[in-house]
């Protein structure tokens, strides 16, 4: 199979995957106890009021009709072109467009994911390589211990410790939210405050938005780095034992060239795959980090919507998450296929 055929096949396979995911969520949400109609009425509600709300929410139709309506909305190209996101329906709780809600929260999540991943990758790979190079030494044990602790520590606990130290005691950094209220948000171009501040040429806003981003991304980055440390170390240990590394050393190449130029490059492939998949998962929202730092991203959104049995919002969120994960997996698969032709066989 040629690379092009492989890519087309993989893209086509994402359609039934997403459809299956959507159908499952559509059904599971409706099986769960709880009624989005009654949740609109904290106190009394007459049967007529309930029926009126049922009509407003489109729940007066049979289940199959609701399903067909939903799928019909999803493939509405006109809507997609007009709004820039698919028609995911209206929220059953707030009556806002679900697509609009998801895309309004997405930049916050994306920004957090990018910075966390950078921190996690740098810490994880550097410490992993150092650990593998000093195999079984005290340094190796220390780094492994660090990796285990950061991987195991609850994210909200680490977040709160940082908040206490840097927010409450030192007062260097804010304890949460995306920006100091004394500073106006930068003009929205990408929705990433740090990038938008730079594009606006406003260093002060960049400084302020970076300050707000530092603690959540450091928390999340440290937690993820534990996994990266362990994986880098294991892969490096295996690679360092291979013949080509011995040969490179025998030829008198510098230690750093052998480690970073030869061994790490070979050990990096599975790590890059993991970074890609972790990044895709993070795009779905780091629920605990976002909650701990009151970060207005997708993680909080999903939790809120589930509590309200907001069927359309949850379906929309799952479709988007599915899409993120599928896209990143696709890119990783294509890269793999490009790098290693055996996969295409």
């Amino acid at each position: 199979m040629g690379l092009r055929s492989y890519i087309i096949t993989r893209i086509l396979l994402t359609i039934p995957t997403l459809l299956l995911l959507l159908s499952m969520v559509f059904l599971v949400m409706r099986v769960l106890p709880g009624d989005p109609v009654s949740l609109h009425f904290e106190k009394k509600a007459t049967p007529e009021q309930m029926e009126a709300m049922r009509r407003v929410l489109g729940m007066d139709k049979p289940l199959w009709a609701q399903y067909v309506d939903y799928l019909g909305g999803l493939v509405n190209i006109e809507y997609l072109l007009e709004h820039g996101y698919p028609n995911l329906g209206k929220s059953m709780q707030t009556f806002e467009e679900v697509g609009g809600q998801i895309f309004s929260a997405f930049p916050a999540t994306l920004e957090l994911a990018i910075y966390s991943m950078i921190i996690a990758s740098i810490i994880g790979i550097l410490l992993g390589v150092t650990s593998s190079k000093s195999y079984n030494s005290i340094l190796d044990h220390l780094i492994r211990g660090f990796g285990t602790v950061t991987y195991a520590v609850p994210i909200f606990l680490l977040g709160m410790i940082f908040q206490l130290i840097f927010g409450v005691y030192l007062r260097w950094l804010p304890t949460g939210l995306r920006l100091n209220p004394a500073v106006d948000a930068p003009a929205t171009l990408t929705g990433l405050y740090t990038l938008d501040s730079l594009l606006e040429g406003n260093l002060f806003k960049f400084f302020e938005s970076s300050k707000a981003l530092l603690l959540p991304s450091l928390t999340l980055g440290l937690i993820l780095s534990g996994m990266f440390i362990r994986m880098t170390r294991t892969n490096m240990l295996e690679t360092l034992r291979l013949d080509f590394v011995t040969a490179a050393k025998a030829r008198g190449l510098k230690e750093s060239t052998v480690t970073y130029g030869y061994a790490l490059r070979n050990a990096l492939l599975p790590i890059v795959t993991m970074i890609g998949l972790q990044f895709a998962i993070l795009l779905g929202g780091a629920i605990l980090t976002e909650t701990t730092f009151s970060w207005p991203g997708l993680g909080r959104y999903v939790v809120d919507r589930i509590n309200f049995r907001d069927y359309t919002a949850i379906q929309g969120a799952v479709v988007m998450f599915g899409l993120f994960v599928t896209l990143v997996s696709l890119v990783v698969d294509i890269l793999y296929a490009y790098l290693d032709p055996r996969i295409r066989l």
Binding site: G34, P36, M53, Q101, G167, T175, G176, P181, N202, N307
Partner: protein
């Protein structure tokens, strides 16, 4: 002849030589000139080339210079922008005393349209930006001390079904429209007209359409309400946020499109409150930032203007993060919700100040009267007698709530201690009552106690555990705890599958009228109010009817002594019936920086931000 020919030839040759020489000389001369000219041209061309090269170099240098200057200009512009921003931020910081930053875990649920909003925080924001006919006096202990607001005086007919309000003159909306009686009529007509299309809105929930028959404009500054029935708490209705007066220009009577941040609700010109809404940002259905600015056209701007020019709300995800924010100084004030543990921990710390006030939120135990054996009042009373309110208040709420022995909270008209008759952890009474129905240590009363587990009510799981322990300590009850998140819990309530369950209530207006009816509220689904239960006559039905008679009588009089007696009589019946049993009433608190003043936490649960200021 030949000589002549020779001479001629010689002459010709000479001429030829001369001509040739001349030509050659001339040619040479010309050629020399041309050569010289060529040399000159070449020199000139070289010079020109050099010049062009020099000009090119110069242009390049100039371009480089211009680029460099441009870069410097961009850098300078960027620096200037940063400095301007820094200056603006510094200005804002130096004006900090004019800005109050409030942290909260709340969020506006849907809109700020009084015809639709029906949530605590939505109403709280509406209170800052909108005006009502009357207001409750800040600090009121009973919640019944009404002050003139957009109405300067009022009176009711003897039978309390006609209410007249004389309106304040000289009140203007932001757009210059002068407030008058037509606006009052319009606001109430609109609220009622929108009920069918906004079934979840406050006017629908409060039953405006069943209370108000019509609104009549008597003259420019006088309005009359014709009610369907006598209704003594009408001032309570007139003071609540669903009765906010709107500017017809910005609040048309139309089908509501359910969009949060609807311009009709968020426009600064729609209302006449002490503040106007200058910014309202929402992301993914939750508030991100709300900013209020003092309204320069506020009718009471000269009397009691907003003491703080700007109020900014910041939204935190939960109680622990809000506590950290106030402790770190990220916000000037934290209100709703900091947990009891945190607030007690914060009290006494030098960098914060804790404010305490009266609470009006209550929780109560409900019995499903259609489930055997809870159709028997003796069983309901037996379980009630085993309740241990003081332990719940001390262990779960760390004494930040008070045991409640009537659905009407202390301080309010009609409050009694009626349920004291059954006592707390009164196991002797529990055993004797259950023995009458056949339950004892060998044959325990078994039932499910349901509670909400998603944080809709405070400390629900901890409460449920204490209730279970207290019930089982009687030795004659075996309790199974069952929890559901709020959505499933409400469904279980509506499906009437819960034996015994815990519920809660926030008042819409501070009047016993908005509490006492809970004993038989149909939406709680106890079935206590039904004539029959499972096809058999309901033994409690006559008691329910009697309670309703007292309730209606209390609605039709403004005589506080009489109303007090009537609510007490309702409570007396409630103790015998135990359909709904009061457990506790909350305390209210706020945490601020030490230099924040002016907070009033009274029984209304209203936070009047226009009275708050930062000072020495």
């Amino acid at each position: 002849m030949p000589e002549k020919m020779e001479t001629a030839i010689v002459v010709l040759v000479l001429i030829g030589i001369i001509v040739s020489s001349g030509t050659m000389v001339y040619t040479t001369s010309v050629m020399s000139g041309v050569s010289s000219t060529q040399s000159d041209v070449s020199t000139l061309a070289d010079s020109m080339t050099n010049l062009t090269s020099s000009v090119g170099d110069l242009a390049s240098i100039m371009a480089d210079l211009a680029e460099t200057v441009g870069e410097y200009a961009d850098t300078i512009a960027a620096l200037e922008a940063s400095l301007a921003s820094l200056r603006a931020a510094l200005t804002k910081m130096t004006l900090a005393e004019k800005t109050l930053i409030v942290g909260t875990t709340d969020s506006v649920e849907l809109t700020l349209d009084p015809a639709q909003a029906y949530d605590y925080f939505g109403w709280s924001i509406l209170q800052q930006i909108a005006g009502t006919l009357v207001e409750v006096k800040p600090g009121s202990e009973t919640g019944l001390d009404y002050l003139p607001a957009l109405a300067v005086s009022w009176n009711a007919s003897e039978d309390l079904d006609v209410w007249d309000f004389n309106l304040r003159q000289g009140v203007i909306f932001w757009d210059g429209t002068e407030f008058n009686a037509t606006h009052v009529k319009y606001s109430f007509d609109r609220a009622i007209e929108l009920i069918p299309s906004i079934p979840e809105g406050a006017p629908a929930g409060l039953g405006y359409d069943s209370i108000i028959n019509s609104t009549e404009v008597l003259d420019t500054y006088k309005v009359r309400f014709h009610l369907n029935d006598p209704f003594s708490p009408f001032l309570g209705i007139a003071s609540c946020r669903a009765s906010a007066i709107v500017n017809p220009e910005y609040a048309p009577i139309a089908q509501v499109n359910y969009t949060a941040g609807d311009p009709r609700a968020s426009t600064p010109v729609a209302f006449v409150g002490p503040y106007f809404l200058s910014e309202w940002k929402r992301v993914a259905g939750r508030d991100i930032e709300i900013k209020l600015d003092a309204n320069p056209f506020y009718w009471n701007a000269t009397g009691e203007p907003a003491k703080t020019e700007h109020v900014i709300f910041r939204f935190y995800s939960d109680a622990p993060t809000l506590r950290l924010a106030v402790e770190a100084g990220d916000v000037d004030m934290a209100f709703r919700h900091i947990s009891p543990t945190d607030v007690l921990d914060l009290e006494g710390k030098p960098n914060v100040k804790v404010w305490w006030g009266t609470g009006a939120f209550i929780q109560y135990l409900c019995f499903q009267c259609a489930h055997e054996p809870f159709n028997d009042t003796r069983v309901r009373r037996a379980v009630t007698a085993a309740l241990d309110r003081p332990t719940v208040c001390s262990t779960v709420f760390l004494n930040l709530s008070e045991p409640l022995y009537s659905l009407i909270p202390p301080g309010m008209l009609g409050h009694t201690e009626a349920f004291q008759k059954l006592g707390d952890a009164n196991y002797t009474l529990t055993k004797s009552l259950l023995a009458e129905v056949g339950y004892n240590e060998a044959n325990k009363l078994k039932f499910d106690l349901w509670y909400e587990s998603s944080g809709h009510y405070p400390m629900s799981a901890e409460q449920a555990l204490v209730y279970k322990q207290a019930f089982e300590a009687s030795g004659v009850m075996d309790v199974t705890l069952v929890s559901r998140d709020w959505a499933a819990y409400k469904k279980a309530r509506d499906d009437e599958i819960m034996d015994v369950y815990v519920y809660g209530w926030y008042p819409d207006y501070v009047d016993p009228d908005d509490y006492s009816f809970l004993y038989w509220a149909s939406w709680i689904h106890t079935n206590y109010y039904n004539e029959t239960l499972n096809g058999l006559p309901n033994p409690s039905y006559s008691a329910y009817l009697q309670q309703v008679v007292f309730f209606d009588e209390a609605r039709s009089t403004t005589n506080t002594t009489l109303r007090d007696q009537l609510y007490a009589q309702i409570d007396d019946i409630a103790v015998e019936q135990c359909s709904v049993v009061p457990i506790y009433v909350s305390t209210a608190w706020a945490v601020t920086k030490p230099d924040v003043f002016g907070i009033v936490l009274d029984i209304t649960q209203d936070m009047r931000y226009w009275l708050i200021y930062i000072g020495e």
